[in-house]
C-alpha cells in the first residue's frame, strides 16, 4: 500500500512537471497567448498556487495588458507576499502604471516586514494563538504546571491580540477588497446606474478599493484621490 502511494505521488509529480514545462515552453518561444491560457487554467486548478497567478500575470504583461498583469500580481501577492521576484514585479508594474501600491519614499524592507505574512496566514495565526491561549489557560485553571501554563497563556493572549491588530490594519490595505480598473477611461458614476451623473473617469491599471456591490454596479473608492463612486463590474478586475 505504502509503495503504491509513493508511486502515485511520483507519477503526479512527473505529470505536473511536464505540464509546467509546457507553459514555460510557450513563454520561452514568445507565444505568450498560449502560455497565458495555460497558466490561467492552472490558477483555476489550484487557487492556492501563487506561482500560477504570478506566471499568468507575467504573460499578461508581455501581452501589454498591464491592468490584468497588475491584478494577477496582486492576487499572487495576497497568497504569498514573501516571494522576492513577485514583490519585484509588483513594485515594477506599480511604478510603471503609477498605481502607487508601494510609495517609493518608504524603504522596501518596511514593506517586506509589513507584508511578511498573507492575510489568511495572519488570520490563521490569530486563531491558533487564541486556541493555544484557551488550552494553556485551561491548564492554568486546572492547576497543572501552573507557572508554565500562566506564562504560556499570557504570551499566546498577547500574540492573539497582535495578530488581530495586524489583521485589522491589513484588511484596510490596498490589497484587500481591491480591484484594478480594466478599461481605459472607465466611467465612475455618482450612483449604481446610467441614470446617475458621471463624476470621474479613471485610466486603466489603477487600483481601487471595493466598498459595496449592487448587481452589475460596484461602489469603489479611488485610492489616494478621496473620490468614491460606482463603476460597472465589467470595467474592473476584482482581486
Amino acid at each position: 500500500m505504502k509503495n503504491i502511494l509513493i508511486l502515485f505521488s511520483f507519477f503526479i509529480f512527473l505529470v505536473s512537471s511536464a505540464f509546467c514545462s509546457q507553459g514555460e515552453e510557450y513563454y520561452k518561444k514568445g507565444d505568450f497567448k498560449a502560455a497565458a491560457d495555460f497558466y490561467y487554467a492552472q490558477t483555476l486548478e489550484n487557487p492556492y498556487d501563487y506561482s500560477a497567478f504570478y506566471n499568468y500575470a507575467n504573460c499578461l504583461y508581455r501581452l501589454k495588458d498591464k491592468a490584468g498583469a497588475l491584478a494577477y500580481y496582486m492576487k499572487a501577492f495576497e497568497i504569498n507576499p514573501r516571494n522576492s521576484d513577485l514583490f519585484y514585479n509588483l513594485n515594477f508594474l506599480s511604478v510603471q502604471t503609477q498605481a502607487g501600491l508601494f510609495p517609493q519614499d518608504i524603504p522596501s524592507f518596511v514593506y517586506r516586514i509589513y507584508f511578511f505574512l498573507s492575510l489568511n496566514e495572519i488570520k490563521a495565526a490569530a486563531f491558533l494563538s487564541f486556541w493555544t491561549f484557551c488550552l494553556f489557560s485551561s491548564l492554568f485553571f486546572l492547576e497543572k504546571a501552573k507557572n508554565f501554563s500562566k506564562t504560556a497563556s499570557v504570551s499566546f493572549a498577547a500574540l492573539a491580540v497582535i495578530f488581530s491588530l495586524l489583521y485589522f490594519f491589513r484588511i484596510n490595505s490596498v490589497f484587500h477588497s481591491a480591484a484594478v480598473i480594466k478599461n481605459s477611461q472607465a466611467r465612475i458614476m455618482s450612483g449604481p446606474g446610467e441614470d446617475f451623473k458621471l463624476i470621474a473617469s479613471a485610466e486603466n491599471a489603477k487600483p481601487v478599493k471595493i466598498i459595496s456591490e449592487a448587481g452589475e454596479w460596484i461602489e469603489i473608492g479611488l485610492i489616494g484621490q478621496g473620490i468614491k463612486g460606482w463603476i460597472k463590474s465589467e470595467d474592473i478586475i476584482k482581486i
Binding site: D49, Y50, N120, K123, F130, C134, S138, Q225
Partner: protein, 612 residues
C-alpha cells in the same frame, strides 16, 4: 549651550522654509477674459493649476445661479529643466450669463489629491444685451434685427408653435472614436424671463465633450420669426453596436402676454422691470439612436484605437550630448480626433536607455472639431559615444477621412554623442551605479516554479475554521474556569458545600453499600452508618460522629423545626443500625437493603425540613 540653541534655530528655520517651499510648489489661479459682459455674450473662465500634482487635480466649479457653465477644453504642459519636472494644466470654461446686474464667480476649489486650494472670488458685471451694431464685430454671434410686423406670431397661436426644441446629429452612423456632433436648438417667438436651463441627455455607449459657446440667432419658420439658442456637443462612441442619446430637457419661463417684443435686445430688462406674468414650461426632445459600425479588420500591429486624422513630428532639446546624460526627445501628435484618449507609442532603440516618458495634451475645438496636440517627452540617454541615430517612431491610427488605417512615422535623427564625464549621469532608477556592471534596462522577473501552495491551503483552512472549532476551545476554557471556581468555593466554605451536596453523597454511599450487602453485610451496614452520620453532620452543620443518639436528635430538633415522626425515625434508625451491628448475628442482604431504604426515605424527609 548658545551654540546648540543657534543650531536648533537654524534647523527649525530650514525646516519651516522647506515646508514653505513644498507648499509653494502648487499654484492655483482663476482668471476671466473680461469682467464686464453683455447679457447676450459670454466670458471665458480659465483655471490654472501648476505643481507636482497638477495633472491629477480635480477642479470643482461651484454652482452659479447667474451663469450657465460649459467646459471648453483643457491643456497641459510639462517642462523639464535641469532634470526637474514641472507640469501645469489650464481648464477653460464658457460662462453664459442669465441675468443682468452685478454678480461674482465664487471661489473655485481645486483638489490635488493631497490638498484643497481655492481661487479668489471674481467680480463680474452683466450689462444689458448689445445692440445689433455691436454684434458685427463678432461673427460667431448672429445679428438681431428689428422684428418685422409681418413675422410676428398671430394672436391665439398655440404655445407649442411659439416655443419648441429640436435636436439632431450630423451623422447617424459612425465608427467607435469618431466625432459625432449633436446640435440642440431652442426656438422661441415669445419673450422669456431668462436664459433657459438646459439638462444634458443621458448617453449610452457614448461620451461627450462640450462645444461652447451657445450660439444665438433668428430664423423665420412658417412665416413666424423665432429667436433661437443652439448648444453643440461632440460625441464619441465607445464600442461598436448601438448607441443612444436620451431625451434633452430644457425649462424656460415664457411670457403669457405678447406686449413685449422678444427681439428687442433689452427685452429681458423690460421683462424684469415689472412684468411678472410668465409661466414655466418644460420641453423634451425624443430619444435618438445611432449605429456604431466596427472598425475594419486587420489593423496594424501597433494600432491602439486612435481614430481621427493625425500628424506626427519629433524634436530633441539638443543635438549634441554626452554619453549617460539625459536628452529630452519630444514626440508631437497633432490633428483632429479625441487626442485625450489615444495611447502614446512606446519608444525603444538599441544603445539607448529610456528612463521615463511624460505626456501632456491641449485640446482645441475650432469649427466644432475636437483636436489639438499630444506631446510625449521621452527622457533618454546614450550608453556609448559616437554619431548615433534615433530611429523613426511609428504611430498607427484609423484615418476618419480616408476610412483606412494609416501608419505614420517620424524621420530618423542623428545625435552626436560625446564621451561622458565619469559620475555625471542621471539615473532615475533607485539602484546605485555599480562599477563593472552596465545596467542596460529593467524588466519583470522570469517565471516561477510551481508551488503546491500547502502553507496557503493550511492557512486558508484554519482561517475559515467553522464556529464550532472556536466554541470547542472556548468551552474547554469555560469548563476549566468553572471547575476552578468550584474548587475555590469548596475550599472557601466547606460546610456550605457539604450541606449542598449531602443528599447526593448519601445516595452514592447507599448505592455502594447495597453493592457490598451480598458479599459483606457488616461492611455494608458500616457504610450505611457512616453515610447517615455524614449526612446529618452536613445538614446540621456540626460533627455528630462522637455524639450519643439522643444528643443527635436533640441537636437536630434545636436547629430545625422537625416533625415528631422524623425525630423518632432518626432515633429508631440509628438504634437499629447499632443493634444490628453489635447485637444481631443474623444480618443478611435483605436486612441491609431494608435499612438502606429507610435511610433513603428519612433523608427525603430531612431534605424537606432542612431546606434553607
Amino acid at each position: 549651550m548658545k551654540k546648540t540653541i543657534g543650531k536648533l534655530a537654524i534647523f527649525i528655520l530650514l525646516f519651516i522654509c522647506s515646508f514653505g517651499g513644498a507648499y509653494a510648489a502648487t499654484e492655483v489661479t482663476a482668471s476671466v477674459n473680461k469682467q464686464i459682459v453683455p447679457l447676450n455674450d459670454y466670458l471665458i473662465l480659465t483655471v490654472y493649476v501648476s505643481g507636482d500634482n497638477a495633472n491629477s487635480a480635480t477642479v470643482q466649479i461651484p454652482s452659479m445661479a447667474n451663469f450657465s457653465v460649459s467646459s471648453s477644453g483643457r491643456s497641459t504642459s510639462i517642462s523639464i529643466i535641469n532634470g526637474r519636472i514641472s507640469s501645469s494644466v489650464e481648464y477653460s470654461y464658457i460662462l453664459t450669463p442669465k441675468y443682468a446686474g452685478k454678480t461674482s464667480i465664487p471661489p473655485i476649489s481645486v483638489f490635488t489629491g493631497k490638498e484643497k486650494f481655492f481661487t479668489k472670488e471674481i467680480e463680474i458685471t452683466v450689462t444689458s444685451a448689445k445692440s445689433s451694431q455691436a454684434y458685427q464685430s463678432q461673427p460667431s454671434q448672429p445679428q438681431r434685427t428689428s422684428v418685422q410686423p409681418k413675422n410676428r406670431p398671430a394672436k391665439g397661436t398655440p404655445l407649442e408653435n411659439l416655443v419648441f426644441v429640436k435636436a439632431e446629429t450630423d451623422k447617424k452612423t459612425a465608427y467607435p472614436g469618431e466625432q459625432i456632433n449633436l446640435s440642440f436648438k431652442f426656438y422661441t417667438a415669445v419673450p422669456i424671463a431668462r436664459n433657459p436651463e438646459y439638462f444634458p441627455p443621458k448617453l449610452y455607449n457614448l461620451f461627450s465633450e462640450d462645444l461652447p459657446p451657445v450660439r444665438t440667432g433668428e430664423q423665420v419658420i412658417n412665416g413666424i420669426k423665432y429667436y433661437y439658442s443652439e448648444l453643440k456637443t461632440a460625441l464619441f462612441a465607445i464600442n461598436a453596436g448601438k448607441a443612444r442619446i436620451g431625451p434633452i430637457e430644457i425649462t424656460a419661463q415664457v411670457q403669457k402676454e405678447e406686449d413685449i417684443d422678444p427681439f428687442d435686445p433689452n427685452f429681458m430688462q423690460k421683462f424684469f422691470s415689472g412684468f411678472t406674468n410668465y409661466e414655466e414650461i418644460k420641453l423634451n426632445t425624443k430619444d435618438m439612436g445611432l449605429e456604431i459600425i466596427p472598425l475594419p479588420e486587420n489593423p496594424p500591429s501597433d494600432f491602439s484605437g486612435a481614430v481621427g486624422n493625425f500628424f506626427i513630428s519629433r524634436e530633441v532639446d539638443r543635438k549634441e550630448v554626452k554619453s549617460g546624460e539625459p536628452l529630452n526627445l519630444t514626440l508631437k501628435i497633432t490633428g483632429k480626433g479625441n487626442l485625450k484618449d489615444i495611447s502614446v507609442p512606446e519608444f525603444s532603440a538599441e544603445g539607448v536607455k529610456v528612463y521615463d516618458s511624460l505626456s501632456s495634451y491641449s485640446i482645441t475645438k475650432h469649427d466644432d472639431i475636437i483636436g489639438g496636440e499630444k506631446k510625449v517627452t521621452y527622457i533618454i540617454s546614450f550608453k556609448e559615444e559616437g554619431l548615433k541615430e534615433i530611429p523613426p517612431i511609428k504611430f498607427s491610427f484609423f484615418n476618419i477621412d480616408t476610412k483606412k488605417y494609416e501608419t505614420i512615422e517620424t524621420s530618423p535623427l542623428k545625435i552626436k554623442v560625446l564621451k561622458g564625464e565619469g559620475g555625471k549621469s542621471y539615473d532615475f532608477s533607485d539602484k546605485p551605479a555599480d562599477s563593472g556592471v552596465d545596467i542596460k534596462g529593467s524588466d519583470i522577473k522570469y517565471l516561477l516554479k510551481p508551488s503546491a501552495g500547502l502553507s496557503a491551503k493550511i492557512a486558508r483552512k484554519i482561517s475559515t475554521a467553522p464556529l464550532y472549532a472556536h466554541l470547542f476551545f472556548c468551552s474547554i476554557l469555560i469548563f476549566s474556569f468553572l471547575k476552578n471556581r468550584s474548587v475555590y468555593e469548596r475550599l472557601r466554605n466547606p460546610a456550605f458545600y457539604a450541606y449542598k451536596n449531602a443528599s447526593s453523597v448519601l445516595q452514592a454511599a447507599l448505592k455502594k453499600a447495597q453493592k457490598e450487602a451480598s458479599s459483606n453485610p457488616y461492611k455494608s451496614l458500616s457504610l450505611i452508618y457512616d453515610a447517615i452520620t455524614d449526612y446529618l453532620t452536613a445538614r446540621i452543620g456540626e460533627n455528630v460522629y462522637s455524639l450519643p443518639i439522643n444528643k443527635i436528635v436533640q441537636l437536630y430538633s434545636s436547629k430545625f423545626k422537625a416533625a415528631e415522626f422524623t425525630l423518632g425515625e432518626i432515633k429508631s434508625l440509628l438504634e437499629e443500625i447499632e443493634f444490628l451491628n453489635y447485637a444481631s448475628s443474623g444480618l443478611n442482604e435483605k436486612k441491609v437493603s431494608e435499612v438502606a431504604q429507610r435511610v433513603s426515605t428519612l433523608s427525603e424527609m430531612i431534605e424537606k425540613e432542612t431546606k434553607k
